[in-house]
Every structure is written in structure tokens, then in C-alpha cells.
């Protein structure tokens, strides 16, 4: 784990949490969508909050996919769950929302859960194949692109 990989985990936390909040804010404006009004669900995409929320979630998704290319799913998911805690603390300090005893217990459990995986390896060791190593084609020098170059 180098600092770039920690940045990717941070991006998952920040963009995932903010994206969810923006989407929730947008759906609050859109209102109830019934089974017989499914086209109304598509029109929700026209809401600016939903649009920005989807943009954030796309960045979250790119970061999440990147992390899964070098770490296990059972490492990435708990490690990035700290986003829930960040959201609760932000709403407490900036929106002055009260955090009940139940929510403090939830924060404690998430932090403890993140602590369990943080000290362990990020990827399962595989003897037959090494997913974090470059694909076969990248291990040999690429010569085809320069073969026709006179210089």
C-alpha cells in the first residue's frame, strides 16, 4: 500500500458519501415514484441534485474499480465504510445535528470494523496467479510500435 492507493481509498470515501447525500437530496425533490409511474423515475435524472450526485458516484465508481484491481473486495468494503462515520460527524459539527447514543454506538462499531481490516493484508495471496502483477503482455518489452521508426 503506497500513498496513491490510500488516495484512491480516500476518493471512494469522499465521493461515495457525498454522492449518496446529493442523490437523496434530489430524490426528496422528485417525490414518491409509484410502480405505475416508472417513466417518472427516468425524469428524476433531470433534477440538478441527481445529476451532480450521479457525477460524484461515477468518480466513486472509477476509484472503487481501481481499488478492486489491487485489493480484495472484503478489504475495500470495510476499509471505505469510514465514510459513514465522516458523514455523521460532518452533520454533527456543520449541520448541528444531534448524534444519539445509538448512533455513537454505530460509529464505534464501524471504526472497530475498519480497525480489523486495516492491520491485515489488502489482498489474498494466490500462488497460481498474481492479480496485482502486470498482465503477461506488459511483462515483455513492446517493440512493435517502434519497429518502423528509422530513428
Amino acid at each position: 500500500m503506497n500513498y496513491r492507493k490510500y488516495l484512491v481509498l480516500l476518493a471512494i470515501i469522499v465521493f461515495g458519501s457525498c454522492g449518496d447525500v446529493l442523490l437523496a437530496r434530489g430524490m426528496h425533490d422528485v417525490g414518491e415514484v409509484r410502480l405505475d409511474q416508472l417513466p417518472h423515475l427516468v425524469s428524476a435524472v433531470a433534477n440538478p441534485w441527481v445529476v451532480v450526485g450521479i457525477g460524484f458516484l461515477l468518480i466513486f465508481f472509477a476509484s472503487y474499480s481501481t481499488a478492486l484491481s489491487w485489493a480484495d473486495l472484503t478489504f475495500v468494503l470495510p476499509a471505505t465504510a469510514v465514510g459513514y462515520v465522516v458523514l455523521a460527524l460532518l452533520s454533527h459539527f456543520f449541520l448541528h445535528e444531534q448524534i444519539s447514543v445509538q448512533r455513537w454506538l454505530g460509529i464505534f462499531l464501524i471504526v472497530a470494523g475498519v480497525g480489523f481490516v486495516a492491520g491485515g493484508p489488502s489482498q489474498t495471496e494466490r500462488h497460481a496467479e498474481h492479480p496485482s502483477s502486470p498482465p503477461e503482455e506488459l511483462r515483455t518489452p513492446v517493440v512493435s510500435s517502434v519497429s518502423g521508426d528509422p530513428s
Binding site: R4, K5, L23, A24, M27, V30, G31, E32, V33, R34, L41, A44, Y64, S65, T66, L68, S69, W70, D72, L73, T74, F75, L77, P78, A81, Y84, V85, A88, Q102, R103, L105, G106, I107, F108, L109, I110, V111, A112, G113, V114, F116, V117, G119, G120, T124, E125, R126, P131, S132, S133, P134, P135, L138, V142
Partner: protein
């Protein structure tokens, strides 16, 4: 009847979300470390490899089902039940699926992490 629909929505969200996560992890495992590929062949090679993966395409479809099911459920069901129940059950379902389908080494520490986070999310999101 509304309770039945709410739990049916939670079930669909959890199954679709877990399938999406597992298939995406499978796709990215097969592609390899995208940081290394980007360094050696450029960002477009990364995009091309990711978009040409069949596992990735199916993962996106599952995630789309989960996303629209959640949007749909949040618009009429009890948010304080759907959001924490779906999120926390997905954590446990993912740990189980990662062990069974991806062959990940889900040791005692990772099980504790999944269960603690699932319980924490359930308490926090209420």
C-alpha cells in the same frame, strides 16, 4: 402488503448489489493492477481493457438494477428501514460471496470487520 413490498425491494437491492460487487471484483482481478497498466500503456489502454470485459458489463447491469431498485424503494418505502437494512445486509452478503465465488481469504478478522461494519451501519443509518 406494503411491508412485503419493502422487504422484497431490500432483497432485490442486496442480491443485485452483491452480484454487482462480486462480478466487478472478478473483472478487475482479471484485468490486473490498473495503475501498472496506466503507467506502461496509458489511460486509454486501461479504459479499453475495462470496457471490453464481459464480467464488467454484467456487473454494471447488476449495479444498475440495484441502483434503480434503491431509487424506487426510497421514494415510497420507509427510508429508515430500507437504507440501513440494504446497506448492512450487503456487507455480510459480500463477505460470504467473496469467499465462495472469488476465493478470497475471509479470515476471522475480515468476518469481524464485515459484521461490525454491518451492525454499525444499521445503527447509524436509522
Amino acid at each position: 402488503m406494503r411491508t412485503f413490498y419493502t422487504w422484497a425491494a431490500i432483497f432485490i437491492i442486496v442480491v443485485a448489489s452483491t452480484a454487482g460487487d462480486v462480478l466487478l471484483a472478478k473483472a478487475m482481478q482479471r484485468i490486473g493492477d490498473v495503475g501498472l497498466i496506466r503507467q506502461q500503456k496509458g489511460i486509454f489502454a486501461v479504459v479499453r481493457r475495462v470496457l471490453s470485459s464481459g464480467w464488467f458489463a454484467v456487473a454494471i447491469c447488476c449495479m444498475a438494477v440495484a441502483f434503480f431498485s434503491l431509487l424506487f424503494a426510497l421514494s415510497w418505502a420507509d427510508v429508515s428501514l430500507v437504507a440501513p437494512a440494504a446497506a448492512s445486509l450487503t456487507f455480510v452478503a459480500n463477505a460470504l460471496s467473496a469467499k465462495v465465488f472469488l476465493g478470497e481469504n475471509v479470515d476471522r478478522r475480515r468476518w469481524f470487520a464485515a459484521v461490525f461494519v454491518a451492525a454499525g451501519v444499521a445503527l447509524l443509518a436509522r
